[in-house]
């Protein structure tokens, strides 16, 4: 009787444990349950967190929450608008002539030799707590003269017991701009900025010479104190104002001021991390970013987890009070103090399967959609729109889609003797191929429908993009009254015949036309894409030969102009059409000038319009010029326009204030979590199921019972026969 009661009690306890209490499969500490923490994942460890080097999307997702450049983008307004961040107000451009004499605001671009921006920063902004700022009682910096012996037991920032802070000063912004030219840091934007910031090119050369001298003296690892070397075009005006002087007129420079490249870096942090022994102990600014933003990095273990926590010294900011007309649901927190989330935990999740499953269990608050889980999450409605499946809706998951400020295209090398050039023959050939290669089908097959066919180089959301009938590429599409319709393959064949390649035979030589597609070396999974591409060309009887090489050889071919047809893409640095149209500007030719114009396209009419357009503010006049430029491009067809990818993201019901932003990255501060709802849902979705386990044990026991009986009988028997084996 007592045994039966004990078993019943045990069973009830087990049921109670299973039914109530925290889920057993929760990967986070029990102490964090119900806390205001965002959980998300990353699949590739960031290589650089130093703002002078960091340029990849998987790096900026961290840096953008920590560093505060002078400007930022409005979270809700579209088109994207710059607003002050660390700066007090948007800087105003002042123009100077070649003699440094002021010019009026409406001066002609040709007369403007320099543009000067004076940037005044907000007062009272403090850095996050950091040992570099810590001071002794006598006022000297506590951790600035450390020996290797002092650093013996210090491998993480938290090993330094004291921290301090100080106010942000204009000199910190100047110091960071100087760091762009640091010879050991290899900033990716140095080349670009050398063309604009006065004196930066000479400064970079000067630092190279200094560094070479240090290496010769055996001090190649020693700190290079940039405060000893002034930069002509960047200086402090006072403690809270600094000045940047750039060559000519470049209104898009303000967009760069919204990127971490131009965020402040204090000299004491740089010198702190430059001390001998720091790098050997993996203590570098590249590993431990230091900023004034709403968050600070408290754990950097990119092998497992990276954690951002609320910066206790954050100066404060409020949620926007206005947005677009459709943003009414996003203004519930208007005017409230930011940030809302206390902590963001980024867990390394290399494989898509566990990442997806943990999202469905509620352990990640948001997720992308992999191709293997696409059908599970999204279905196409009768109207051709992507909607969530019933299973997703049942969990209260929301879908947000947004066209990325990116473009993927197939380029023709305009220097190639067959496909390149401006002869009518070459132009018609390119147009014929553009009609034949069906990117609508490509998007459907290879992108799960996640993209829109490109009509030109400018993606949606960027000024200059035209919607609807006004925006279609008439070479490829017609308008049926409601939507674009691709021209038929017969139109492509007609263009090809007009080019002198009737049925794919060169009328001059009588030989079949063979074109070469230069691609980076691909694995088996890309074979289907290459086969598809060959079929597109085969539709108009052109033989396409893929020439796969490794990425470095491919880059060499592009640089030397040896590729014929290639694929490329571009993500916007900033929301201005100049950042896309410059990819086809003659002066940017890859072969001529090592620029970004990989097609080596050079059309004087286009270039003239580009020079006219690039410095204009957004206006109907600018739109007209852009329309003419796009018409030229469509007629010349240096690219097959490819597609603009569409990003799909899923968010749980407890994740608020989400608005996809394809340009700004410092959006974590606006987002809000309902941890109570999340906890309830996790419990609901993750009740442990024990009965299969118990059933399995019982079956195993039943399976072995006859054998045990056989063994018992064998032991009790009188003699044992031959050993069987």
């Amino acid at each position: 009787m007592k045994i039966i009661i004990r078993y019943r009690l045990a069973a009830w306890c087990l049921l109670a444990l299973v039914g109530c209490g925290a889920p057993w499969n929760n990967p986070y500490p029990a102490a964090d349950s119900g806390k205001n923490i965002l959980y998300t994942s990353f699949n590739e460890r960031p290589k650089h967190l130093d703002p002078v080097q960091s340029y990849s999307s998987n790096e900026i997702v961290f840096n953008a929450q920590i560093y505060e450049p002078p400007l930022q983008y409005h979270y809700l307004k579209r088109p994207y608008q710059l607003i002050p961040s660390a700066a007090e107000k948007l800087p105003v451009a002042h123009y100077l002539d070649a003699h440094n004499q002021p010019l009026p605001d409406n001066a002609r671009a040709a007369d403007i030799a320099y543009t000067v921006y004076d940037i005044t920063i907000r007062r009272g902004i403090l850095y996050q707590p950091h040992p570099a700022f810590s001071r002794n009682t006598d006022g000297s910096l506590a951790y600035q003269h450390l020996s290797e012996k002092d650093l013996k037991d210090k491998h993480e920032l938290r090993d330094f017991k004291q921290t301090g802070t100080r106010e942000l000063k204009a000199a910190d912004f100047v110091y960071q701009i100087k760091r762009l030219a640091h010879p050991r840091l290899h900033s990716p934007i140095l080349g670009l900025m050398e063309d604009y910031i006065v004196g930066l090119k000479d400064y970079a050369e000067q630092l190279r010479q200094v560094n070479a001298g240090m290496i010769r003296e055996g001090k190649g690892e020693a700190w290079l104190d940039l405060t000893q070397y002034p930069l002509a075009g960047v200086m402090t005006v006072d403690d809270y104002t600094y000045r940047i002087k750039i060559k000519g007129q470049y209104p898009q420079f303000l967009y760069w001021l919204a990127m971490p490249f131009f965020a402040p870096v204090p000299v004491e942090v740089d010198s702190f991390f430059a001390q001998s022994g720091m790098a050997q102990n993996n203590l570098t600014l590249d590993w431990y970013p230091v900023g004034t933003g709403p968050y600070m990095m408290t754990e950097n273990n990119p092998n497992r987890v990276m954690v951002l926590e609320r910066n206790p010294n954050f100066h404060g900011e409020t949620y926007p009070v206005e947005g677009e007309a459709a943003d009414t649901g996003l203004l519930a927190d208007a005017g409230k103090a930011l940030p809302f989330i206390d902590k963001a935990v980024f867990t390394l999740e290399k494989e898509s399967i566990p990442r997806w499953n943990k999202f469905l269990q509620g352990y990640y608050d948001a997720s992308g959609i992999g191709s293997d889980s696409f059908d599970q999450a999204v279905q196409m409605s009768a109207q051709g729109e992507a909607v969530l499946t019933d299973a997703m809706r049942a969990q209260g998951i929301q879908l947000e889609t947004a066209v990325a400020a990116s473009t993927y295209y197939m380029g023709f090398n305009m220097l190639d003797p067959v496909i390149g050039g401006f002869s009518e023959r070459a132009r018609k050939l390119r147009q014929a191929v553009s009609v034949a290669v069906d990117y609508d089908e490509y998007i459907s097959i290879f992108q799960n429908g996640r993209g829109i066919p490109a009509q030109g180089p400018i993606p949606p959301g960027i000024f200059g993009y035209r919607e609807g009938a006004a925006g279609i590429n008439p070479i490829i599409y017609t308008w049926d009254g409601k939507q674009p319709q691709r021209r038929s393959i017969e139109d492509a064949k007609k263009l090809l015949a007009e080019a002198g390649y009737l049925d794919g035979i060169d009328s001059r030589t009588g030989q079949p036309l063979v074109l070469y597609f230069d691609v980076t070396a691909r694995g088996p999974e890309d074979k289907s894409m290459l086969d598809w591409m060959k079929k597109q060309f085969a539709k108009i009887h052109i033989q396409l030969e893929p020439r796969p090489t490794d990425y470095n050889r491919f880059q060499d071919k592009i640089r030397k102009g040896n590729a014929q047809i290639f694929e490329w893409g571009w993500n916007a640095d900033y929301p201005d059409p100049e950042n896309f149209l410059f990819l086809l500007h003659g002066a940017q030719g890859k072969v001529k000038a090592q620029g970004e114009n990989a097609a080596n396209y050079e059309n004087p009419a286009f270039d003239r319009l580009f020079e006219q357009m690039k410095n204009m503010p957004n206006s109907p006049q600018r739109q007209q010029i852009i329309d003419r430029m796009v018409d030229i491009l469509r007629a010349d067809a240096p690219w097959i326009w490819g597609f603009h990818p569409k990003d799909y993201a899923l968010y749980h019901a407890w994740y608020h204030n989400v608005k996809p932003n394809k340009i700004a990255n410092n959006t974590l501060k606006y987002q809000r979590i309902d941890p109570v709802l999340r906890e309830d849902k996790r419990r609901e979705w993750n009740r442990p199921i024990l009965w299969p386990f118990v059933l399995g044990m019982l079956l195993l026991l039943l399976f072995t019972l006859p054998a045990l009986r056989t063994w018992y009988r064998r032991e009790q028997s009188a003699a044992i026969g031959e050993v069987k084996s």
């Binding site: 499969n25 290589k47 990716p188 993996n282 092998n303 497992r304 990425y551 470095n552």
Partner: protein
């Protein structure tokens, strides 16, 4: 024994040099210093000057094996091979391409690898021996028959299936343990390790149980076992007191050689379960074309393999008095 060990250690040197050379050759056959530079510098706005600068800073602008333009010994010493590979013989692994100290990283990441590999190894060994002994005990019965079928089926299934299936059933459907992850504290770590350890054990079940069963059955066919039975010992006493001891000798040789490689972790398990061990460290280094890490891990792996072989020889002489070093 000392002479034997010294001889084996001396043999190890040319082996390690050879492994180093082959690793170096294979790596740079597939990757070039320019590739490595681009991997670190990114894709956007990477200039040829930046690539050359990176290569110069990291010592990858030198010739691979032989510097024709240099003088004297510099023809050999002013090369990538000499600068990058030879100092490993003094266990100076240097820094990875991202600047982080490799020795420190290995020291940090080996514990998570151990945390998965050691329990899977020892608990697995116990389970495999138990089952193998059980199948041998119930030989020629339905248990043995279905056991062997189970082993063959288990051997035929790929490790990836066990991992994905295990995560799906145990974590996703039954919600018993976290799908993936790892924690810094001991208490939290245990619940993350249950599933990868279980999968590690299940993954090795088929092959190991079949092999050990064969060892046990071979012993059971020997004369001394027949004698023990004839003397009236129970089957249990025969198995546990006589057969097990002698069958452990061949089991030991297969097991001891594997012990050092536990240090290196499992690439698949660590990737899928998010365990920051040496297995994922190596696979990440290969993807990132970080030669410094790859050569360090291959060097350590070779060293451990040689150590494993030596340990096997030593343990063989300890358990079998008939075996002596020659």
């Amino acid at each position: 024994m000392i002479a034997y060990l010294v001889r084996r250690l001396l043999y190890a040197i040319p082996i390690l040099v050879g492994v180093n050379v082959i690793t170096f050759g294979l790596f740079f056959m597939v990757n070039t210093p320019d590739d490595m530079a681009r991997m670190q510098l990114g894709i956007k706005r990477v200039t040829p000057e930046a690539i050359e600068g990176w290569k110069h800073e990291h010592g990858y602008d030198k010739p691979l094996f032989y510097h024709r333009a240099a003088a004297g010994f510099s023809k050999v010493s002013d090369t990538i091979f000499y600068q990058k590979s030879l100092r490993m013989f003094v266990f100076d692994f240097g820094a990875a391409d991202d600047g982080r100290d490799i020795g420190h990283e290995i020291g940090k990441r080996m514990w998570p690898s151990f945390a998965v590999a050691l329990p899977a190894f020892f608990v697995g060994l116990l389970i495999y021996i138990t089952f193998a002994l059980g199948f041998a005990f119930f030989r020629a019965t339905y248990i043995d028959f279905w056991g062997v079928i189970l082993c063959v089926v288990a051997m035929s299934i790929s490790a990836m299936f066990y991992i994905i299936g295990g995560q799906y059933v145990i974590s996703k459907l039954w919600h018993l343990v976290p799908i993936s992850g790892y924690a810094g504290t001991v208490g939290d770590t245990l619940r993350f390790l249950l599933l990868p350890v279980a999968i590690g054990i299940v993954g090795g079940f088929g092959a190991s149980v079949r092999l050990y069963r064969t060892f046990f059955l071979e012993e059971m066919g020997k004369d001394y076992v027949r004698t023990a039975r004839a003397k009236g010992l129970s089957e249990g006493a025969v198995l546990f007191r006589h057969v097990l001891n002698n069958a452990l000798i061949p089991i030991l040789t297969t097991v001891v050689v594997a012990i050092p490689s536990l240090f290196l972790g499992s690439l698949l398990v660590e990737s899928f379960f998010g365990i920051p061990g040496l297995g994922s460290y190596t696979i990440d280094a290969i993807s990132m074309q970080d030669f410094s890490i790859v050569r360090a891990m291959v060097f350590i792996g070779s060293l451990l393999y040689i150590a494993g072989l030596m340990l096997t020889d030593i343990s063989y002489t300890l358990v079998d008095p008939r075996v002596r070093f020659s």
